[in-house]
Each structure stands twice: as C-alpha cells, then as structure tokens.
Point group: none
Chain length 207, copies 4
DNA sequence: TATGAATGAGAGTTCATTCAT
DNA sequence: TATGAATGAACTCTCATTCAT
C-alpha cells in the first residue's frame, strides 16, 4: 500500500494526489487506506519515513557492513575513515539513482512544504549525525580536535553537496554512483585533508 | 503586492495558500491580484523571479562591485579569484539571512513542485554558471586545465553545500554571513587548493 | 435527478441555474450530481437527450402503434398516410402539453445556445426525417414524385409550424391536443392536397 | 454602440458576452455603456428592440410600399392579398438572410431565456398580428368569415413555418429569398385556398 | 471486516457594476 | 463628462473524509 502511495505522490505531488487514485493503485478501497494509515498527511509521512529509513539503512550498512562471523571488537576500524566516507557516499548515490521516483522526489517535495518540513528536518538531522560522526573520526585520525560546531557545519555542507550532485546526476548526467562519489570525495576530502593539517583560508581584505 | 504573496507562500506553501489570504494581506481585493498578476501559478512564478533576480544581483554585484571612479581597464582583475568567491558566498548568505521568509523558503517549495521545477532549475543553472566561472578562474590561476564537466560538478557541489549551510544557519544557528562564508571557503577552497596542485583522492579498495 | 435538473433549467435557464439549486431540488448533494452526470453541460445535454428521446418515442409509437397480436405483413400500411400524420401531430401536441416545463422550454433554450445547438439540430433533424417520410408517403399516395429537397423543405415548415402552435397553446390557449392537431392538419393537409394535384401558386408580379 | 453589442451578443451569446468586450468593440469605456443603456439586460433588450423593429419595418414597408404620389384612398387594395403575403414573406427571408448575425441569432438566443421571453413574445405577437391581418383579408376576399381564433392559429403556424424555413436556409441551403418565399406560399397558400372554399380535413378515426 | 455512496467545506476564477478622479 | 481602478458576490468543480451496509 505504501508502494502505491509513494508511486502516486512521486508522480503528481502531495496536493495533486487524490486518495482515490492511491486506493485504486493499491487495489483496496479508500476507507481501508484511512483505517490503516489515518489521514492523507499521515500517509505521506509514513512514506517519507519508510523511504528515509531505507536510505539510512543503505548508507549505514555500507559504512559498517554486516559481518558474517562473530562480532569483532572494533568493527568500524576495519576500514579507514576516508574509505568509510566514500562507501557512504557511494551508497547514497546508488540509492538515489535506484529510487529516483521514490525517495528523491518525495524528499524534494516535502522539503519546503508544511507540515512536513519538521519531518524532513529530523531525517536530515539523522543523516547529518552520521556524516558528522564519520568526519569527526576522520579528523580525529589526523590528531586534531575540531570544535563540534565546525564538524556539524562541515557535515551540513557535505550533505548539501551530495544532494545537489544527486540532483545533477538524476536530472542531467547518467553517471555511475562510484564516479559521482569519487567526484565528491575529490572535492571535499582534499579540503578536509588540508584542514586536518591545520591550514585555514581567510579573507585577505575586510571587503 | 508581491511582498504579501511571498509572505503567504512562504508561510503555508503554494497549495495551502489561498488567494483570499494573499489579497487580504496585500490590502487589496482578489480581482486586483488577478488583474495584475494573472493566475495563482503566475503569481508564484513572479515571486520566484523577483527573489531569484535579487539574489543573483546581490551576488554578482558583490563579486564585481560597481566602481565609483572611472572604469578601469580590467575591472574584474582587481580582486583575486578566491576573494571573489568568498565575496559571492558572503553575499549569498547575507541575502538568505535577510530574506529568509522570501527566498530560501520559496526556493525550497518550488524545488520539487510542478510546474515550477523548470523555473527553479533555470535559476539554479544561472547560479551554477556564475560559480563555474569563478571556479574555472580559480583553477586556471593555478595553471591547470580542468575538464569542463568536472568544473560544473564542482559548481553543483558548491551550490548545494551553500544551500545546505544556508538552511543550517537559518534554522539553527544565528551566525554572521562572514563566518559562514569563511566556513565554506575553508572547507571548499582548501580542497580546490589541493586539486589545483594535481592531487587526487581515490578509493583504496574495490568495496 | 434529471427531473430536478429539467425543472430548474426550464425555470431559470441554463446559465442562471446553479448546480447548488439543482442539487437541492433533487434532494442530494452537489458532488453527487457531478458524480452521476458529470459537468453542468453534460447534465443539460442529458436532460435534452431524455426529453428528446421521449418525444420521439411518443410520436413514433403513435404513428406506428405497437401491435398486440402477431406482426402483420405490412404494419405501417394499416393506416392511411394522412391519418398517420394526424396521429403524429396529436402525439406531439399531447407530449408538449404534458411536459411544458420539460421539453418545450428546454428546447427553446438550447435552440440558440452554444454548445447545445448541434445537439438540438441533430434531434430536430431526426424529427424532420420522420416528418419527411410521412409527407413523402402522403404525396406518393397521390401518385406524384416530388423532389426530395421540396419534401424536406415542407417538413421543415411543418415542424416549425408545429413548434409555433405548441408555443401558442402552451402560452395562451388551453386546447385539447386533438383540436390543435386538426387545426394544423386543416392548414397543411389541404395545402398538401392541392399540391399533390400539381397545383402551384406563383407570384403574379416581379415585385 | 448597439451595433457593437449586437455583434458581440450574436457571436458568443448573452451570458458569455462581457461588458468589457462590448465597450471595447464600441470604442468607449464601460461606464459609458452603463450611463447610456443601463444594465446588461437593458442593453440586450435594446438590441432586441432595434433589430425587431427593423424587421417589422422591412415587412410592413414591403407589404404596404411607401408611395411617391398623394396617398390613395385604399392603398392596401393596390395589391391582391396573396401578393401582399408573398411580399411579406420575401421581405422576412431577405431580412433574415441579410442580418443572420444580427436578428436571427439574437432572436434564437432570447427565445427561451429569462428575462427576455416576455420581450420576444411581445415582438412575436406583433408579427402574428400583422400576419393575422393579411390572412384575414385573404380569407375575407374569398367571401368567408373565419373565427378570429382560427385566423390567429393560422398566423402562428405560418410564422413558425417561416422561422423554421429561415433557419433551414441559414444553416443548410443558400437559396434566394424569392425561392424560399414561394416555397412557403406553395405550401401554405394552397392550403388556405382550399380552406377558403370551405373544405375541411378531419380525422377518420377516433385514434 | 471492507466498501459504495455521500457530503461539507473550500478553492480558483470571473464579471457586472461602481467610485474617485 | 469620461474613465481607470477596484470589488462583492457567485459559480463550477474537487476531494478528504465518513457512514450505512
């Protein structure tokens, strides 16, 4: 049933989607939709949740792959931090490429639309948390102790850059997720690499 | 009148906004809104245009400031490319901070909502063009010849990072535009600085 | 439900009729009207169709009455052509008298009102066809071979005369359908009677 | 100004015509239209009046042509009654053919549309009066004394037949007014001719 | 439990009509 | 006097939501 809702919402948007069409697409009757999911808003939020959770799971399981054997003491130390970051990005671009009618469209819809902004912000915050953790480890691996606010800001920038590149790929270029992930790594990582050596750019004039 | 429309659209979104409310907020009657701006869609697009144009003007005039004296031979060479980029970012964050109920919300709305996606995409493309030009000059100043596609990808990433940081600032932190711009410069420029020395990050394992 | 629509349309006309009023008159809610009959235009056309069909059925079944016994070899030869014509006229006036709020008013409305003129023209053409057939048989019974165009013109004139007398009866006089039908027969039949003897009136001067 | 109104009303109908368009077509401003003619309804009625009057004048002046010399004692006796009738019909068909965008369309519109039905009925009654007078003279010339009601009924039938043939000519056939007038005379006159000899058709069975 | 049928509430849009100039 | 500018009032149509079965 959520599949039907996601398909319809993605195709025509929240407001243009009618519950009739969603029910028809799901092969059930409208009162059933209400019985199971409540209102139209709740239905949309449920879609958002499910797709967002799937994205998060895809990223996290890419960064920390499920292990077949016994759980090791330090599972995440198996990969160097930059490698983890790249895998996370690759998983992100892969997911978006595979679900462009699902997640990315839904996400773009809900982004600026009350009463969903809070929901989207919360999901985005979870994403930023994950990225912050990765970045913090990366920088910590370089022996530096950045202020948390700086790390969060970097995470926001990185997430935004990823979303923007995802749109670029979806709308214009058909490019393998690996290539796009490497692109972003090249752009961001080398900056982070410099940063962790303590370099800082600053404006040369008061403007 | 556009002010009222921007205020209402920003507050409740395109679909939830009623022409009655917009007219009331503008202090005129509904038929006047239709007489001046046409349909609801045209009204929204007019808002989009005005805010987008203002943003572009703010950025461009920050990068290439109007000169009081006689026009110099090479006006744009007056500032080094990195300085120009920083000024553009500062102007962007300043504008978004000053127009948070206007531009950023409107933009987030229209981003994923037909029939406005094309309009937004066009404005975003103009922005990416400007940023691409700046980045190309930056890299050219380092003596390298990047492929255009790579520059465009970097521009997309940078624009996305900027949008995301703008949201972060708008929603969570109250931080001076200078600080945010420097933040992003630190993150991006050092990466670009490395890149222009030919460094490249690549994944260490096939994953 | 069509009854309510016919009543309202007849009373105030297509454009002055509001769907609210029709729904209220029908004792149902407006969305039901839309669910069953579609748009206002479709609703009006449905009224037109129903009333027109009823009229045609009334006339045809009067001219060729349903037979109780076994179907005879030449059922339509059972009555002489003039008798058939008179019965058709009587059925017409009877119907109009019984449905004055339905058919005649509706018909007068739709006659000159786009986009219904085509619909009315089609129904009128069917009526003219029937009358043409009767007239042709009448004249053929007299042994003459009129040109088809002349027969059609006569049919148009007869139909128009019938409509006009119907209005007269409806608006001014309360007269039995038999009387009105005989009136029109007297006027028309004797003319046709002369014509079938080859007589022709022609202007005596060029004017 | 009435010309503009007639043109617009004829083209799109009363309800679809906007006062804006009429004012624009007339080359004046809307408040002027209201100043001169009052409301939209009054404007339409004025159109109806003018065109109706013109038609009546055309018919009457055809039946009783303006005389150059001194007024004779019995001007209408100059022409035999049947000739007068034919001239009236010819004038009618000529007028309708020449003003098909004016009178006939306006007339068809107003026929069934409140609040114009009364107006149309009045004009039609005047027409019927004229025709009744002609018919009465025709029959009186034959030495018979028909009941007035019978004459009026005949007039109604004749007027209706004329309208119907007018529509037929306007919509389908392009035929000279003389031909159509003769057609109708052939059909009607011979009937009247028989009638004035006292012949009467009557149904042979009670039905 | 599952649904066909029904609706209340509200949206965008238009236009005849009128002031203030 | 003539008009540009303004509006009140409706109308068609839609849809999320709920009963009665």
């Amino acid at each position: 049933m959520l599949d039907a809702a996601v398909a319809v919402f993605s195709a025509v948007g929240f407001h243009n989607a009618s519950m009739d069409e969603i029910a028809a697409r799901a092969g059930i009757s409208k009162p059933m939709v209400y019985a199971y999911l409540g209102s139209k808003e709740e239905l949309f939020i449920a879609c958002l949740h499910r797709e967002g959770t799937r994205l998060m799971e895809a990223i996290v399981s890419a960064v920390v792959p499920p292990l077949a054997g016994p759980v090791p003491a330090e599972p995440e130390s198996a990969l160097p931090p930059d490698e983890q970051l790249w895998r996370g990005l690759r998983a992100f671009f892969t997911f978006v490429g595979d679900h462009r009618d699902g997640w990315s469209v839904l996400y773009r819809q809900a982004r600026g639309q009350e009463p969903f902004t809070a929901e989207v912000a919360a999901m985005r915050a979870r994403m930023v948390d994950v990225v912050s953790g990765l970045l913090a480890r990366v920088i910590a691996a370089g022996g530096r102790q950045p202020r948390p606010a700086d790390v969060v800001a970097m995470a926001y920038a990185l997430v935004g850059a990823g979303e923007s590149l995802a749109d670029w790929v979806v709308d214009h270029v058909e490019e393998a997720a690996e290539v796009t992930a490497t692109r972003l790594m090249n752009f961001v990582w080398l900056g982070a690499g410099e940063l962790l050596h303590g370099a800082t750019w600053r404006p040369s004039s008061p403007g």
